[in-house]
Assembly symmetry: C2
Homo-oligomer: 189 residues x 2
DNA sequence: TTATTAAACTAACGCTTGTTAGTTTATTTG
DNA sequence: CAAATAAACTAACAAGCGTTAGTTTAATAA
């Protein structure tokens, strides 16, 4: 029986290298060296370089989709839903920041799954936007440009993969509260 | 006498391709095809692929450095300085969004200039942080986590290159006001 | 007209890429 | 012990990479 853990080691190591230099700049020989083996040996565990990227990205994309479904269908005010989105990003990212780098920066190198990924991302953004618009309708959120709000929140949440690993001893609950406060209430006194 | 404009066409075309696929995934043959010539012909105008990347990134990095110096030395409140930083990012990015993609995503593929770039970026972040901290001291800005504030603002500003080209008919002054409002006052009513 | 020059071309180079085939080694299972 | 299996290895491949050398073409300057 194949030990699935060796493959996962390879995928995790690949994610780390992809974060540092991007998918295209990482060679199978780089990856092999990082694993302490020869490049050809990698193929006892994985099908192709492409397949590694797919493994990294698609599972994360589906985690976000699933999380968003739960938030959408929850009984909560719009502001509470936004806080849950912040928390979702922080929890997924802190578990796998390297993979999040690929999700953000290397999705265009997907092949068969690229269309699927783009679809999931668009649906996610649409759900996010709708929550903001509902908040505007219900007078919870300012009636200014909702596209700017969506853009600003998403940009920040998508950059978490760069920031979370630098603050190792940071409690994710505290971060979630701090970040929600800044994103929702601003910085002005 | 060499016409400098042909080289600039190549650099601009390269920036566009680098934005779409990243520096490493763009070959000189891709770039040549986009210019309607053969790969070897590119070398009548440029020294190397590396050199194109350097041209794109370093000039932009120095624009930011220069802009930050002006803001630092200006007579303005901390909040006003932050608004000027927002405006700086929007103006530089709207002039050259493709180049900003390389600045954000391909800087690690610089060679001799990588250290210089990293230095400029650190100084920029330090100046940014100091403006926030001064605002906290002078009671203009909330006394919550200033690292979170810096991270959130910078993440949003660094993502502008993805967003500005999608909103072509957008007035940069209006955008600057809207974005400053969201970043500084939040979205909460 | 002749000389100069900008900007394209063809052909090729040495190197690196992802990947395959076939083999060896060491551990686990019947 | 024998058989099976996981996981490494060596060697090699065809294709693609950035880049160079030398040449041709067409427009401009003397």
């Amino acid at each position: 029986m194949k030990t699935e853990t060796r493959k996962e080691e390879i995928v995790q190591t690949a994610a780390k290298l992809f974060k540092e230099k991007g998918y295209s700049a990482v060679t199978m020989r780089d990856l092999a060296k990082a694993m302490g083996i020869k490049a050809a040996s990698l193929y006892n565990h994985i099908n192709s370089k492409q397949d590694i990227l797919k493994d990294i990205i698609i599972s994360l994309a589906e985690e976000f989709t699933q999380g968003m479904q739960l938030i959408k269908s929850s009984e909560a005010t719009s502001i509470e839903k936004l806080k849950k989105i912040v928390s979702l990003h922080i929890h997924i990212t802190s578990r796998n920041p390297n993979g999040m780098a690929s999700l953000n920066n290397d999705w265009m190198h997907l092949e068969e799954q690229k269309h699927h990924y783009i679809q999931l991302r668009h649906r996610y953004e649409d759900d996010f936007r709708q929550i903001i618009n509902e908040g505007i309708k219900s007078n919870e959120i300012k009636k200014s440009n909702s596209d700017v709000m969506l853009f600003s929140m998403l940009s920040t949440l998508r950059s978490l993969y760069l920031w979370i690993p630098k603050k190792e001893d940071l409690n994710t609950e505290t971060l979630s509260q701090n970040l929600s406060e800044v994103l929702i209430d601003g910085i002005n006194k």
